[in-house]
């Protein structure tokens, strides 16, 4: 009986250890830590808006691959929710650890600025990627695409699918998401100036909820039977608008494009409810971020055009805004959707 009691205590301690381990996992470093630890070189830390979504996991994979090839240590840790305060805590902990380079995709650029200053004061090179903090001390912003690039590509794709004429509407996500709104502004102007036969009728906001995006797209289709195009402005709305067209049985009459990750769009591209997805190569964005970190750490600076890898040649750098541009957006169709694993 005593032995049994002893066993249960051991089991209990073991369980507690397991639970503690899990807790730490939830806190952050999904795949960070010492993965590239032995390769030496500078330590580059990247704090995404949130971890656990395919988008940032793909960026992480790209950064990791870059560090393995180029010789650096890649750390990756983000908050469980896209929360500015939780993100700030993680940034602080990286400052404490004394990493060499710190990259952030800030949830709130304004509140991130003083922290980046703090990091610089501690001798850390700082940069932003994916989302900029323009009024900060960051030394470089790794930009995935310009607002013009995304907005025009989305417009070109939807107009092309609609056959050059008709009316289309947009289902967006957060009403305050600055990057989405800047793309929508471009779409408005570009549609009006380039495609006089096409009208952008309506913009609705569904939050990050797929079911809500699908329902709102359904409502838009019902409210305006002459609508022949729908744009899903973010990764949850892009499959949502396609699903709505499919549910309404109007594939081939109503066309959709969106900003969707390849795997989530594959089924819809195949059945024709989505004509194209506009994105950028997320893994390459991670790769470019790690490469930019190495340049910063070596004080090597950037050329006007940089050859980063075989995949990434001629990456433009704009000295006035200190911005590296990944390149033109990527258009994903049935042709190339199988090339991506995120």
């Amino acid at each position: 009986m005593k032995a049994a009691h002893y066993k249960s205590v051991v089991a209990g301690v073991g369980l507690a250890l397991v639970l503690t381990g899990c807790g730490q996992g939830s806190g952050g470093s999904a795949s960070g830590g010492d993965s590239g630890g032995e390769s030496g070189g500078p330590t580059i830390a990247f704090v995404p808006k949130l971890q656990g979504i395919p988008y940032f996991e793909a960026m992480n994979a790209g950064g990791q691959a870059a560090c393995e090839e180029l010789g650096c240590t890649w750390l990756y840790q983000g908050p469980v929710e896209a929360d500015a305060a939780a993100q700030a805590d993680i940034v602080r902990s990286f400052i404490q650890q004394g990493v060499d380079v710190l990259f952030v995709a800030p949830n709130d650029p304004d509140s991130m600025a003083p922290l980046l200053q703090e990091a610089e004061d501690a001798g850390i090179k700082v940069g932003t990627t994916d989302t900029d903090a323009p009024d900060s001390v960051r030394e470089v912003f790794v930009n995935q695409a310009t607002a013009e690039g995304i907005g025009q590509a989305l417009t070109d794709q939807i107009v092309d699918a609609m056959g050059g004429t008709g009316r289309y509407a947009i289902v967006s996500c957060g009403e305050t998401a600055e990057n989405l709104n800047s793309w929508i502004d471009v779409q408005r102007e570009y549609t009006a100036s380039q495609y006089p036969d096409v009208t952008l009728t309506d913009v609705v906001y569904a939050g990050e909820d797929q079911a809500a995006a699908t329902q709102m797209a359904t409502d838009l289709l019902n409210a305006d039977p002459t609508l022949t195009g729908l744009v899903g402005e973010c990764t949850s709305a892009a499959p949502g608008v396609a699903q709505a067209v499919q549910d309404a049985g109007r594939v081939g009459q109503v066309f959709t494009v969106g900003l969707g990750t390849p795997r989530s769009m594959a089924d819809y591209l195949a059945n024709g409810s989505s004509s194209a997805s506009v994105l950028w190569n997320v893994q390459n964005l991670g790769y470019l971020t790690a490469w930019a970190g190495l340049q910063l750490s070596d004080d090597a600076g950037f050329e006007a055009s940089n050859d980063v890898s075989s995949d990434l040649s001629g990456v433009e750098y704009d000295d006035s805004s200190k911005t590296l541009l990944l390149g033109p957006p990527l258009v994903i169709t049935t042709e190339n959707v199988g090339d991506f694993d995120y």
């Binding site: 899990c22 939830s26 999904a30 971890q51 656990g52 979504i53 395919p54 996991e57 469980v80 009403e175 009728t201 309506d202 609705v204 906001y205 569904a206 939050g207 990050e208 909820d209 797929q210 079911a211 699908t214 329902q215 709102m216 359904t218 409502d219 838009l220 289709l221 019902n222 409210a223 305006d224 039977p225 990764t235 949850s236 499959p239 949502g240 396609a242 699903q243 499919q246 549910d247 309404a248 049985g249 990750t261 795997r263 989530s264 594959a266 089924d267 819809y268």
Partner: protein, 344 residues
Amino acid sequence: MSAPTTATPPGGVGEVVHDAPARGRILPRPVTGQEVVLVVVIAALWLVLGLATPAFFTSGSIIPLLVSMSPIALIGVGMTIVIITGGIDVSVGSIVMVSAVVTAQALVDHGLSLPVAVLLSVLVGGVLGLVNGVLIAYGRVQAIIITFGTLNLFKFVGLQFFGSSTVEGIPATFAFFGRGEAGRTLGIPHSFLIMLVVATAAWFYLRHTAGGRHFYAIGGDAVAARLAGVAVRRRSLIAYVLTGLLSGLAACFVIAQGTTSLAASVGSGTELAVIAAVVIGGTSITGGRGSVLGTVLGALLVQTVTTGVTQLGWQSQLSDLFVGLFIVVAVGADLVRQRSRRTS
């Protein structure tokens, strides 16, 4: 033995339960004033929408509306019972998330049939509801604290299943509950029909059985109810387990309404939508009073507003404004009723 008089609003002229003693318990009216008001408001809104956008009354518009409100109303049935007992369950969003991710993953990996998948989802929901129920009924901790804790715990569990990714390529097994062609029989969407059957059964049970009335007694005064012989703990437990089971079923509807991929944001915010429907439906947030019928109408009203705002081409944020106003008005009406009863 005193009857749970706290549960009966004043002026109830309703029929007398058959086996009740002559001086018997009086049931509240089958339809409350608030419910009549809701029906009128919804009818008026539908009329206005029908005139403003001719497409509103087409089946292509009404069917998605009914499908869309069904999961909220379904969870609302359980939530109504929980709130009637004086409790609350803010973990339902996380229960939906866990049920949805477990079921979606099983559909992708094992290609479950429809009944098996539904059973799995309902069971997962039921187990999580049982955790809530046991902690609240036997741990004697406030329901909002416990379920706020399990909201986060369940979310953690769900995130482990997602494993930093999304579930992709979900087969169309649940199209039976969806808004597409496969989701209806004779034009009536299955998800709405199922919700209606569950709500009707709950309405009858709460109103016409002694067991049902016990939930009201607990919410009115738990101590008095216990002294009167009501199995307070068991009833509370049942309320939370039922809410869990219904959240599990609702998760199937949610998968059906989404796309072929499932992201970790699934279910987030559901608890607020459900509680809004319950409160707008006239259930007193302090317990002791309420009805399932009101909750179903509340869910219908909220979805009508959201759909209406989109179809009229208004700004999306206006639907938040309207739902907020409805909640304030509904709670205000509840307070006025309580005060007038106390002074009368």
